[in-house]
Amino acid sequence: MSTIPITPDAADEPWVLPDRGTVGMACLIIAESAIFVIFVVAYIFYMGQSLGGPTPRQVLELPIFTTICLLSSSFTLHWAVAALRKSRVGGFTAWLALTVTLGAIFLIGTGMEWYHLIYIDHLTIQTNLFGTTFYSLVGLHATHVIVGLLMLIAALIFALTGHVNEKHAHRMDVLSLYWHFVDAVWVVVFTVVYVLGR
């Protein structure tokens, strides 16, 4: 045991702690990731196990256009927050509106895909294991896109009615973390469902 006293830290030493919004969102993302992992595992586990058709190869088309839309919406949201941080509210509103549009295009694309699958290819969640895992995994992701989109639309309404200024940049930062997460999940879903699964 040392007998030399260690001087306690000086009182004027800055006391910096992580930001609670970011930490909270990071925790939520970890929890959500675990949910997605289970659905992805179920998808991979049941790949090719269906007792009857239709199979993914017969009915799935690569959703290239909507994927590009969703992934680029991450960039537009990033630029929106960057504009807000420089207190350019006009630029923020424009980029945010573009983000919402791109997200909506993705959802419409998913809707059209599902309509085609259900009414033309006669694949429902009850048809076989492919239907079960496909609709639940893609549907779970689409639900997250809808939730993210609703929050972005709320932010857009606040921006259009003039309630947003650069003081809110941090909140938008936290919200954009969620949106980036939803986009990152799509990369996994796309790879598993449309690349490996076909």
């Binding site: 040392s2 306690p8 609670r20 925790c27 179920a42 009850q126 079960t132 639940s136």
Partner: protein, 565 residues
């Protein structure tokens, strides 16, 4: 240096201006509690809620033990027996274990790290109420669902609800739906509270409260809450799949359509085993605070304790399939899970070693919290030993699904976790209410609990070894099980009496207990520096800490702790 010490004088953290307490109407009090976002009130609501469910789950256990006390008993029908063990397990894990630990965490973590409140107070209230709704929904199933013919309506599929028992064909009516949705809701609440605790511990610490100076309780709550994200979420996902199976006709666990019943087992136990550690780590946390204070020594091996807790957190994610040795996973998987299960006993052993080393040479005070802690140490050791026995796959093949397994996990859940929860009640009750709990009743409670516990769960191993399977509603005489079952049932009644004494003590001491003062145990962590009960704002001025035992530094300015860290 003298300045830095006086900056945390006990006088400054307590507002000495006399508080005015206006008399409130009953409805105002109710409104106050329902709308509160104060971490202390939410913590107390969590604890009260889980105590109610502890009594309910206990009554279910007693019903089962009366039924099994003698062979060919007809105290309850087989259907009712099925409902009892399902509700007993589900209630005790989701509506007693989780909320009581979150309740203590809610109450203690902000006080211990010198914070004003949790990081997200409104999320905190939301998490509590959604968990509460889950528990109410589970018991509403008695009224609201229609199950199998003659089975009444409560869930009867067992607490791990293996497929295909939960399929629509085998569980008609809505009993299983109530089970699924109540667990889904309580899972959402758990994730919300866990998120809150992690954010609080990381972002709300008072100046000087570095991570390596945090009380071990905060550390263990950080680890256990982080585990909640990775453990509870798979259960939530699996419950969503089960709901899809039951309501829109998907085939996740439908073996007729190629689905897999084993997949449910994996998903359930990926939650189920880490859950044991989620429940036991807060019990360790209580031991980490109580044992040093009652041995009058700083905790032995603080860094090793933190490292062991984090280690348990990681390893516990890779042991789940030791619940499934009998499924036939193949030699490779069996070997992996045998070894991972054995490895997790290493960090646990480190903890027991450190607690013993803390007690060693200490000036021990055997007050009620310490009595329960010592009981915990012995019983947790034995629970760990039967755990190592069961981790050996061939041994497990013999005894899986027998009363030996039931005895093993109740040794952990009752002998370790419940004992430490009782210790925590005796230890922090003076802080919460301002009054001491009765030591005399505490000693009665402890000794009856020890006798009842060992009568029940020591003897329960034996019918398990003799081949008695779990979940049977009765048995034939002449198999050598009768005497053991009778003893187990008598022990359960003794535990029930002990628990009633405890609840009487809780209520009686609230009105008649002797005044506690701010620091009745001469303890060292920040919660004891403020008033008992703490005011809504916790600390009148934000405390500043310089070591792991800030109150020791105040009480012993000539020999502060930071000289030794």
């Amino acid at each position: 240096m003298a300045d830095s010490v006086t900056s945390l004088s006990a006088v400054e953290t307590i507002d000495v201006t006399p508080a005015e307490k206006p008399r409130q109407l009953f409805l105002e009090v109710v409104y106050d509690w329902i709308t509160t976002v104060d971490h202390k009130k939410i913590g107390l609501m969590y604890i009260a809620y889980s105590l109610i469910f502890l009594v309910v789950g206990g009554i279910e256990a007693i019903i089962m033990r009366i039924q099994l006390a003698v062979p060919h008993n007809t105290f309850v029908s087989p259907e009712v027996f099925n409902r009892m063990f399902t509700l007993h397990g589900t209630t005790m894990v989701f509506f007693v274990g989780m909320p009581i630990l979150f309740g203590f965490g809610n109450y203690l973590v902000p006080l211990m790290i010198g914070a004003r409140d949790m990081a997200f107070p409104r999320l905190n209230a939301f998490s509590f109420w959604i968990s509460a709704l889950g528990g109410i929904l589970l018991y509403y199933s008695f009224v609201g669902g229609v199950g199998l013919y003659g089975a009444g309506s409560a869930p009867d599929v067992g607490w791990f609800a293996y497929a295909p028992l939960t399929a629509k064909v085998f569980s008609p009516g809505h009993s299983t739906d109530y089970w699924t949705i109540s667990i889904l809701l309580s899972g959402i609440g758990s994730i919300g509270t866990a998120l809150n605790i992690v954010a609080t511990v990381l972002c709300m610490r008072c100046p000087g409260m570095k991570l390596n100076r945090m009380p071990l309780l905060s550390w263990l709550y950080l680890v256990t809450s982080s585990m909640v994200f990775i453990a509870i979420s798979p259960l939530t996902a699996a419950q969503i799949m089960l709901l899809l199976d039951r309501y829109v006709g998907s085939h996740f666990f439908d073996t007729q359509a190629g689905g897999s019943a084993v997949l449910w087992m994996h998903f359930f136990w990926i939650f189920g085993h880490p859950e044991v550690y989620i429940l036991v780590l807060p019990a360790f946390a209580f031991a980490n605070e109580i044992i040093p204070v009652f041995s009058r020594k700083a905790v032995f091996g603080y860094p090793a304790m933190v490292a062991a807790s984090v280690g348990i957190g990681f390893i516990s994610m890779s042991v789940w399939a030791h619940h499934m040795f009998a499924v036939g996973m193949g030699a490779g998987a069996n070997v992996f899970f045998v070894f991972s299960t054995m490895i997790i006993s290493v960090p646990t052993g480190i903890k027991i070693f450190n607690w013993l080393a803390t007690i060693w040479g200490g000036k021990i005070r055997f007050a009620s919290p310490m009595l329960f802690s010592v009981g915990f140490l012995f019983q947790f050791l034995i629970a760990g030993l039967t755990g190592i026995m069961l981790s050996v796959a061939p041994f497990d093949w013999q005894l899986t699904g027998s009363y030996f397994v039931v005895a093993h996990f109740h040794y952990v859940l009752v002998g370790a976790i419940l004992f430490m929860i009782f210790a925590a009640f005796y230890y922090w009750y003076p802080k919460v209410t301002g009054r001491m709990m009765s030591e005399r009743l505490g000693k009665w409670h402890f000794w009856l609990m020890v006798i009842g516990f060992h009568m029940t769960f020591d003897f329960m191993h034996i019918p398990g070894l003799l081949g008695m399977p779990r979940r049977i509603y009765t048995y034939e005489p002449g198999r050598g099980w009768e005497i053991w079952n009778l003893l187990v049932s008598v022990g359960a009644l003794i535990q029930a009496i002990a628990t009633l004494i405890f609840i009487y003590n809780l209520v009686h001491s609230y009105y008649k207990g002797e005044k506690a003062g701010n620091d009745p145990w001469d303890a060292w962590t920040l919660e004891w520096s403020t008033a008992s009960p703490p005011p809504a704002y916790n600390f009148a001025t934000t405390p500043v800490v310089h070591s792991r035992r800030p109150l020791w530094d105040i009480k012993h300015p000539e020999d502060p702790d930071w000289n030794y860290e």
